[in-house]
Symmetry: C2
Subunit: 136 residues, 2 copies
DNA sequence: CAGGATCCTAAACGATACTG
DNA sequence: CAGTATCGTTTAGGATCCTG
């Protein structure tokens, strides 16, 4: 850590509009939104407001821990709005903020593009034997 | 491996257009393109054709291994075109395929959106003390 | 120059048990 | 119901050395 960590010096390290810089503030945000579960949570929330359990059911394979963690990140980032009703048993609803909806739209656009263009990419045969799957 | 692995039976496991299914074929593709370095490689390649060393220099912080691995994945997926000239010393050029450019455009759009909307998301104070950074 | 091989650390992830 | 705490496993990622 350098002695003079002023706003000025911080700005010197990365050019504005450069996601490539390792210390670009947008990197963690991008990471959260493009993370394994972050992507799916954003896509699901794009379709409505849901409770914790609803989200778990709609995202097959996600664990409680990962869902909670992902939601907290996205909330801290300002993508997700968490609304807790003070009742017992607890009732919490999750939805997208206004910026969250815009970001989610981009994420969904990418996901949809990939689905729609699967055949233009590598042929099914190649996809079946890629290193990821065949590593066993 | 089930006895009848027909196209039909494969289609039964996941509904078309559902990235949420754990076994959706688009998931690995999405994962590669949204991976830490995959994103950056795609964005850089969107601006032109580059050699291995060029890419390393343009993506600060990436290691040889990760660059090689990322490029191989993206090539296997059909996003990246690898052109090797048979000369010594070796000369290899990387560029985006046609579908790769479309995919990269989506990735870049998301990254740019985040940069442009940083201030609409959490205030700088919150970003400075998020769990990721302050975990030490 | 463009990687492959190897070894290692850190982080992500998952399962389970428990609590207000 | 909506999480937290803890633990163990798996994977991503990094450093280094080596080769065609």
């Amino acid at each position: 850590m350098t002695p003079a960590t002023t706003a000025q010096s911080l700005l010197e390290g990365w050019q504005r509009g450069n996601v490539l810089a390792a210390d670009c503030p947008s990197r963690p945000l991008l990471a959260h939104v493009t993370s394994r579960w972050g992507t799916l949570v954003m896509i699901v929330l794009l379709t409505g407001t849901f409770r914790f359990s609803d989200l778990r059911r709609r995202i097959p394979g996600i664990s409680e821990r990962m869902l909670a963690q992902t939601l907290q990140q996205l909330e801290a980032d300002g993508f997700v709005l968490r609304t807790a009703f003070q009742v017992v048993p607890p009732h919490v609803e999750y939805s997208l903020t206004a910026p969250g909806q815009e970001a989610a739209a981009h994420v969904a656009a990418l996901a949809n593009w990939i689905e729609d263009n699967l055949t233009r990419l590598k042929p099914p045969a190649a996809r079946g034997t890629d290193p990821e799957t065949a590593k066993a």
